[in-house]
């Protein structure tokens, strides 16, 4: 039996954008969707994550105008408050938990980024992380005076130079920055994204629907990290994990079904429309998937959408049936349904199999499901010696066990 010292520790992150991972999460009877505009909510969940000894709280971000094809969704909860503001506010009511903000390199200058993140690291006492993204939605461009978003390869090239320039500015900062710079986090999935992550990131967020997906992703990333002269053990791979907890597996499945039932057909269609960035409001849900209409009108790259839709369209599946099924696998992440013991066992199994270093938890709805995790799964992981009972230090680098800046470069 492994001792507390030798058993691999499980890292926990909380991805808290919105009201939960399920599009119908806001309709859960105990969900409090209006609270996400209040400080009381962020105090509660920030302190909750800290009680669960999470490494960090992460907020995603988008800079596009929500709504497919210019139409604002009516049934999707989309309270996208500025992530940096939410995180620094949570810093004022917590002491240890790390705070990771998603900020785009495509629509911020290096000076803007450097100043914003340096201030964030200082006012949080060295708990800032930067989830480096390049923006993906086409309608973002119009909000920044541009006709078109740059191509992906140009966006990544710009990301590399922006990170380098921001790093130079941080090194020259007159007021000291507690961590020297924020911890770098990345979530790219494409080959370019993975290479950028391998060169830059200290923690990586990804979808992994199965343990095999996780092993494949982590193995690939560790190879890429080693290939650029960095130590793969100095990078945390943190796939997303949504979950529904209940005292028995049957109850968890029933709870999951009840939550999915709250995703009525209109919500499913809006969720699909949002993902495909196309207005589906005039389409007949009982008719086959209107593939040509979608490909002609989507604001996303046509080939990406074709990859998702061609097979189901060729089978003659109706738009409504496809949308309903689509909501059941939100964004390709692993969804766990079961008891706290089963969830703890599953998490340990993944980590021991090399599928990940921990999990980015995406509660199905907030805040109740995260409370269940902290109250019921966290103690099991601690009892098994897989989760810290106290924070090791003050900064996010300490919490992640990253060592000083530069420690990732292989000797």
């Amino acid at each position: 039996m492994m001792t507390e010292q030798s058993a691999p520790q499980i890292h926990l992150w909380a991805f808290l954008q919105g009201i939960g991972h399920y599009p119908s999460g806001w309709r859960h009877p105990q969900a409090t969707p209006a609270d996400v505009f209040t400080m009381d909510y962020y105090r509660r969940v920030g302190q909750l994550a800290e009680r669960g000894r999470f490494d960090a709280i992460v907020f995603g971000d988008q800079l596009h105008s929500r709504g497919a094809g210019g139409r604002t969704s009516e049934r999707l909860a989309m309270p996208t408050l500025d992530p940096v503001t939410l995180l620094v506010a949570m810093a004022a009511v917590t002491e240890h938990v790390g705070l990771v903000a998603t900020i785009s390199t495509t629509y911020n200058s290096p000076q803007m980024l450097a100043e914003r993140l340096a201030t964030m690291d200082r006012i949080t006492g060295g708990r800032a992380g930067w989830n480096i993204v390049t923006s993906a939605y086409a309608t973002t461009a119009g909000n920044f005076g541009e006709e078109q978003m740059p191509e992906k390869s140009a966006r990544y090239a710009n990301a590399v130079s922006t990170v380098a320039e921001a790093t130079r500015l941080w090194q020259q900062a007159e007021v000291p920055i507690p961590q020297g710079r924020p911890v770098f986090i990345q979530a790219g999935q494409s080959g370019e994204g993975r290479d950028f992550a391998a060169r830059t990131a200290e923690a990586i967020f990804c979808p992994a629907a199965t343990i095999e997906d996780g092993i494949a992703f982590r193995t690939d990333l560790r190879e890429r990290i080693a290939a650029v002269g960095r130590n793969p053990d100095a990078v945390r791979i943190m796939p997303g994990l949504s979950f529904i907890l209940a005292p028995t597996e049957q109850e968890a499945l029933a709870k999951d079904a009840a939550l999915l039932d709250l995703a009525d057909l209109d919500l499913c269609i809006e969720y699909l429309a949002e993902s495909l960035t196309v207005d589906l409001s005039g389409q007949d849900p009982s008719a086959p998937i209107p593939l040509d209409y979608i490909l002609d009108n989507t604001l996303a790259p046509r080939e990406d959408i074709a990859r998702v839709l061609t097979l189901p369209a060729s089978k003659g599946i109706s738009l409504g049936d496809f949308a309903t099924a689509y909501v059941r696998t939100p964004r390709g992440h692993n969804v766990f349904r079961g008891t706290p013991e089963q969830m703890a066992d599953m998490m340990i199994r993944w980590v021991d199999a090399g599928a990940c270093d921990g999990f980015t938890l995406q509660p199905a709805w907030m805040p109740g499901e995260l409370e269940l995790f902290v109250d019921q799964v966290v103690p099991i992981l601690q009892e098994k010696g897989r989760l810290r009972r106290d924070y090791p230090g003050k900064t996010l680098r300490d919490t992640l066990g990253l060592g000083p800046l530069g420690a990732d470069l292989a000797a």
Partner: protein, 266 residues
């Protein structure tokens, strides 16, 4: 409601980056019944004031928090979102002080217009959040902004809610004045004319409180603004010498408390 006397302070002290110092100075200002705490000045801003303001929203309960926002290194879409979030988390206690310094002529004005346009893209009653019917919002109350100014083109709608105050308090500093038609508060030196609903005279902690009170009584000014130097000591002096001029005021948001409610919300 009787006219309110405003007490306002500003700081460019780099120690505002330090959570321990920031907490003590904000707490002292709050106890001194200071209405507005302005972070950053036209010539010095050794921090990103919008970031500190988000932290301060959680670290304070009553004081108005105002961020200096330089047009030269800001974008309206980011500014509209960050300030909207701060106004929500602070229950409507936020303001902003746009700065021209270093930017081409007209850029700060363009930024103000674009940011206000983005906030106006959401009606105050857009959100429905009705679990039973599944309607989260009324899409007819969200409109693109399509701002096309000399410096900024912003389509919108912004993906952030309208601030609880509608528009957060707009503060103009006479040392770097943005020319806008409807500023809420101007920080002015002796004899300086700037159009705003309220004028706060920049003065010193050792100036005569009686003279300030007289001028308030005559309607020449609406309060006093102090540029903090030795912040903790200055706040103590302001509390001691000027605190009695401030009367307790009721109201949910900063605008309500200062008698600056927007027409549409009145």
């Amino acid at each position: 409601m009787s006219r309110a006397f405003f007490l306002s302070v500003s700081t460019d002290d780099p120690r505002l980056n330090d959570p321990l110092w920031a907490r003590s100075v904000l707490s002292a200002a709050e106890q001194a019944r200071i209405d507005l705490f302005v972070m950053g000045r036209p010539d010095a801003r050794p921090f990103d004031a919008q970031v500190i303001m988000g932290w301060a929203a959680a670290a304070t309960r009553r004081i108005g928090i105002v961020a200096a926002v330089p047009a030269a290194t800001s974008h309206p879409f980011h500014v509209a979102r960050a300030l909207s979030a701060v106004d929500h988390l602070s229950d409507g206690r936020s303001g902003w002080l746009p700065l021209c310094g270093g930017a081409p002529d007209g850029m700060a004005e363009d930024m103000v217009e674009a940011v206000c346009g983005l906030w106006d893209g959401w009606s105050a009653d857009t959100l429905i959040i009705d679990k039973a019917s599944g309607r989260y919002l009324d899409a007819s109350k969200v409109r693109p902004t399509n701002h096309e100014g000399p410096f900024f083109k912003v389509a919108g709608p912004v993906n952030a809610m309208r601030p609880p105050q509608g528009h957060i308090l707009l503060v103009i500093d006479g040392a770097d004045p943005v020319s806008v038609a409807e500023a809420d508060i101007a920080l002015v030196t002796e004899g300086q004319e700037i159009a705003a609903r309220c004028r706060l005279l920049k003065t010193r902690v050792d100036s005569d409180p009686g003279a300030i009170a007289d001028r308030f009584g005559w309607g020449e000014i609406d309060g006093a603004h102090f540029e903090l130097n030795d912040a903790m000591a200055d706040i103590a002096r302001i509390a001691e010498r000027f605190g009695h001029l401030v009367e307790p005021r009721e109201g949910k948001t900063l605008r309500d408390r200062l008698g600056l409610a927007l027409e549409e919300f009145a």
